[in-house]
Amino acid sequence: MNEYIYYPGCSLKGGSRHYEESLLPVFREIGMKLQELEDWNCCGATAYFSVDDTMAAAICGRNLSIAEKTGKNIMAPCAGCYLTLKKSNDFLRSGNVKAQKILNDLKNTGCEYAGKVDVRHPLEILIKDIGAEKIKKKVRKKLAGLIVACYYGCQLVRPYTDFDDPDYPVTLDSIMEAIGATPVDYSSKTRCCGGSLTGTIEKVGLRLNYILLKEAKRKGADALVTICPLCQFNLEILQSKIVHKYKEDIKMPILYFSQLMGLALGIPKEDLGFSRSIISLKPLWEKLQNGGAK
């Protein structure tokens, strides 16, 4: 089996620490113990591509080089880190003159990189390396009756489309089915949450997230499940303001897929970062306790 080293990025050590808190125990339970990449630096996200694209490739190159020395591939749970590292990796492997120059600079600063590392998202690893069937066998407590809207956002499925469909992906839905939850046909599953626009132009953020929550509510979801820290943050933190502005009850828990997986695999709920939810999880617990009956 492929071996992975864990690249947290800024979010999983900051505002999305409950993603890390639930993801690591889930992978341990599945039989994959993850070590953190030594002295990793930030991926640069969209900011570096907006300011300086050669520097963007160089700082990602440093992370790839550290990973290469361990002989493992990178697991990047944040969709932003995943895309940025993958995009830079492609560029560094391209043989382009500018890329050669950056590889040379990397070498001269002790970060030699031969292009051997692959960048993968945990969802991709669950689907490709482990498989929904094996996950199903590990389930101790089926989340029967829980109705979820699976939200993929943008950067996990675009522009790279090698592991799922860019418009209507299904891998997260199949994981949710494997743990006993019921995914709804969620047509907004790859519509953008606005990313950092929530912080820069709030009214745009409110509108985009209102559309996403409204659709999930309309389809009868009890909770929305995400794979990306920024999506999770936007969808959760804006809810009170959206209710205030649009006068509609769109409130619902926004959870990481790893939190629900953890519950199903029998990990105590106290160890899965649920206490970090800003939205009340009471309806969720009630639903799960009654085996789906409200």
Binding site: A45, M55, A58, P159, V204
Partner: protein
């Protein structure tokens, strides 16, 4: 109101602009555009844009450099890549937007006090300095540098709920080998 000419004469256009953009990474296919509008109709942000993506491509192809670089469009693009995967001419539209952002920053023609380029520059600076981003400081600096004190005030309840759930800290994140990262960035910058 002052009456101004709304249409440019041909000699005022920058005929080299298309070639200039095509030199940038991901932009070499741009003249394959058939102006079908798939990008604009796919874009979740086009309703807020001064020029939707299709028009931006047309501006580039026809030498409207100033209009393209000073547009709000390029900063409103949230990099969701929907246009890019749907484009029938396989133009990397998101990468074109990035290229225009870089050019606008280089020429200092982005809209002043507009938070988005300030956020990008601030994140760039933080990572170059410490190797890591610190979420709280990034947001704080963005509001201060765009002189949006009211906006900062409005963010306080959000900040408090993040603090209460232990999701935000005042700590400035740093990597151990800052020297290595700085040497690397310096080499990359000098080599261009």
């Amino acid at each position: 109101m002052e009456i101004q000419r709304k249409v440019k004469y041909e000699e005022e256009l920058d005929k080299n602009f298309l070639d200039e953009v095509k030199e940038m990474s991901g932009c070499d296919e741009i003249d394959r555009c058939i102006q079908c509008g798939t990008c604009s109709s796919s874009c979740p942000m086009s309703v807020y844009m001064d020029y939707p993506p299709r028009k931006i491509v047309s501006l580039i192809k026809n030498g409207f450099k100033e209009e393209a670089l000073k547009s709000f469009t390029i900063w409103l693009c949230p990099s969701c890549y929907t246009c890019q995967v749907r484009c029938p001419a396989k133009i990397k539209i998101t990468d074109v937007m990035y290229a225009l952002k870089r050019k606008a920053i280089e020429k200092k023609v982005y809209p002043s006090r507009f938070a988005i380029p300030i956020l990008a520059k601030e994140m760039h600076r933080l990572i170059a300095k410490n190797g890591r981003n610190s979420e709280l400081w990034l947001v704080l600096n963005m509001y201060l540098k765009s002189k949006n004190f009211l906006g900062l005030l409005r963010m306080t309840p959000m900040g408090l709920s993040m603090m209460k759930t232990g999701r935000m800290s005042l700590k400035k994140e740093k990597i151990k080998n800052k020297k290595q990262l700085r040497t690397l960035l310096k080499a990359v910058k000098e080599g261009r």
